[in-house]
């Protein structure tokens, strides 16, 4: 929104269209990134259930990847991934 006298258009209070959080790329805040090893994944869906940003991508009940545009790197997915599967590790941004 422009700050050039745009207040004049705001006579009905703050109301915006639905679904705008898709355009808000929370992934830009990230300092650590989850790296998913689909070879190890047992598709228990715990990471999908716990991810606070709905960033675990799934199809037909199976994990297929991570939406890094919205993943903000909290590490919850890595923490809930069963230790024996150990399919997600957190890696500092800027490292492969």
């Amino acid at each position: 929104m422009s700050t050039q006298a745009s207040w004049r258009a705001l006579d009905r209070g703050p109301v915006i269209a639905g679904g705008t959080s898709r355009a808000f790329l929370t992934g830009t805040w990230r300092t650590e990134r989850p790296v998913l090893d689909l070879e190890r994944c047992i598709h228990c869906m715990l990471c999908w259930l716990y991810c606070p940003d709905s960033s675990i991508q799934a199809r037909d009940g199976r994990v297929v990847g991570i939406d890094l545009d919205h993943c903000k790197g909290c590490g919850v997915c890595a923490a809930v991934c069963p230790p024996r599967a150990h399919a997600i590790v957190m890696v500092p941004e800027g490292q492969p």
Binding site: M1, T3, L10, D11, R12, G13, G18
Partner: protein, 394 residues
């Protein structure tokens, strides 16, 4: 008088009058939690709901915070919404007051004005609503039960046209519980005046076209919303004047806006006073006038937006003003009305001396000898801040 408005004369307490106005308005939603001295508004109105004489969805909640939250949700869906509260209840609503105003929701709230704790006290003063004065709500103050009834009806149109929430203050017990004779308009006349409801529904529950109400606003937009809100409050003055004129046209009764002057012709001094004690002080002022003293009374009916221009005009020829008010800012500068009146008069060509008199906190009565002291202050024009009725003189 409008043919639509055959009036009846009824003996009503302030709370009964507000509940009756609500019944005639027939709002979509009332969410409320009872608290003294506004309890009977909700009690009486829930009886109307139970009897099926209104179509209102009544939401009994567990606290005032929830009451106003439910009102915000309903108003955001485009419903016409009312609630009532007092004192600690209004204080508990504080967080949501700002949200209601910031979302520009036309909620109407009756505030049976009462003191704040501690110590706990159930009696009347203006401290509760004065704590909400920077929230963006418009504030109207009744002088008598008729006023409480009329201003409640007026508030609906003002709120919906200004897209701002409105509080109607009636002094705890002295108005909320006192029986007075009130001219009551016909149900049809009231409904014709308030019309069908807010015109720009937000369609909150329209799933094919979902919206977000009250999203995060970062530094690039938050201040623009606040600027728009400030402008809306400023512009509401015009709307109040227009709607009061429409009220007069429709019901044949004049509502004083923004201030009601009494005996101000050629007055050299004036008492400024809001709320129910205006009647008593009016008696005193008229006696002083008979005794040859050029004293008048100016009663602000509107406190938000602050009626600076109307006060400047009403007090133009006056050398001394005694502000009598039932709240304190504890800033050492006096009560909120006195502080703001001084600010409003600062730019005047001739500035009267303002003496701020705080009285009637927690329901302390105003006695004959107190009025004599006020008369002396009017005469002597000492300025500063005084406390009346605490035994050590003013």
């Amino acid at each position: 008088m409008s043919v639509l408005a055959p009036t009846r004369r009824l003996g009503l307490t302030g709370n009964d009058a507000v509940a009756l106005a609500w019944k005639q308005i027939n709002p979509d939603v009332v969410a409320a939690y009872p608290i003294t001295p506004s309890t009977q508004v909700v009690e009486k109105f829930s009886q109307y709901v139970a009897d099926g004489v209104v179509q209102t969805q009544f939401v009994p909640v567990e606290s005032e915070h929830s009451a106003l939250s439910a009102c915000v949700g309903a108003a955001a869906c485009g419903a016409r919404v009312m609630t009532a509260t007092s004192s600690q209840g209004l204080a508990l609503m504080h967080e949501i007051l700002y949200i209601a105003a910031g979302l520009r929701l036309p909620i109407v709230m009756a505030v049976a004005n009462r003191a704040l704790s501690a110590p706990i006290n159930i009696h009347g003063d203006h401290s509760d609503a004065m704590g909400s004065r920077d929230s963006g709500w418009l504030q109207l103050y009744a002088k008598d039960v008729q006023d409480a009834y009329d201003l409640t009806i007026l508030a609906v149109r003002v709120a919906e046209r200004a897209r701002l929430p409105v509080m109607v203050g009636l002094d705890g017990f002295t108005l909320s519980h006192s029986l007075e004779v009130v001219d009551v308009y016909g149900d049809d006349a009231v409904r014709a005046f308030v019309g069908p409801g807010p015109d720009d529904h937000y369609h909150f529950l329209d799933s094919p076209e979902p919206i977000t109400i009250g999203p995060l606003a970062l530094p690039d937009s938050y201040m623009d919303f606040r600027r728009a809100l400030a402008e809306a409050v400023a512009r509401s003055a015009e709307i109040i004047a227009r709607e009061a004129a429409a009220f007069r046209e429709h019901f044949g009764r004049s509502l004083p806006v923004f201030v009601e002057p009494v005996a101000m012709e050629a007055a050299r001094a004036a008492v400024v006073l809001m709320g129910s004690y205006a009647g008593v002080v009016e008696e005193a002022v008229l006696r002083w006038r008979e005794a040859g003293r050029a004293v008048g009374l100016v009663r602000p009916v509107v406190f938000r937006p602050f009626p600076a221009e109307a006060l400047r005009a009403a007090l133009a020829g006056v050398e001394h003003v005694v502000v009598m008010e039932r709240a304190d800012t504890l800033s050492t500068l006096g009560g909120p009305l006195g502080v703001e009146l001084r600010a409003a008069l600062y730019g005047a060509v001739r500035r009267p001396v303002v003496t701020d008199v705080i009285f009637g906190l927690g329901g302390r009565e105003l006695r004959e000898e107190d009025l004599e002291q006020v008369g002396r202050l009017v005469e002597e024009a000492p300025g500063g801040v005084r406390y009346l009725g605490t035994g050590d003189g003013v």
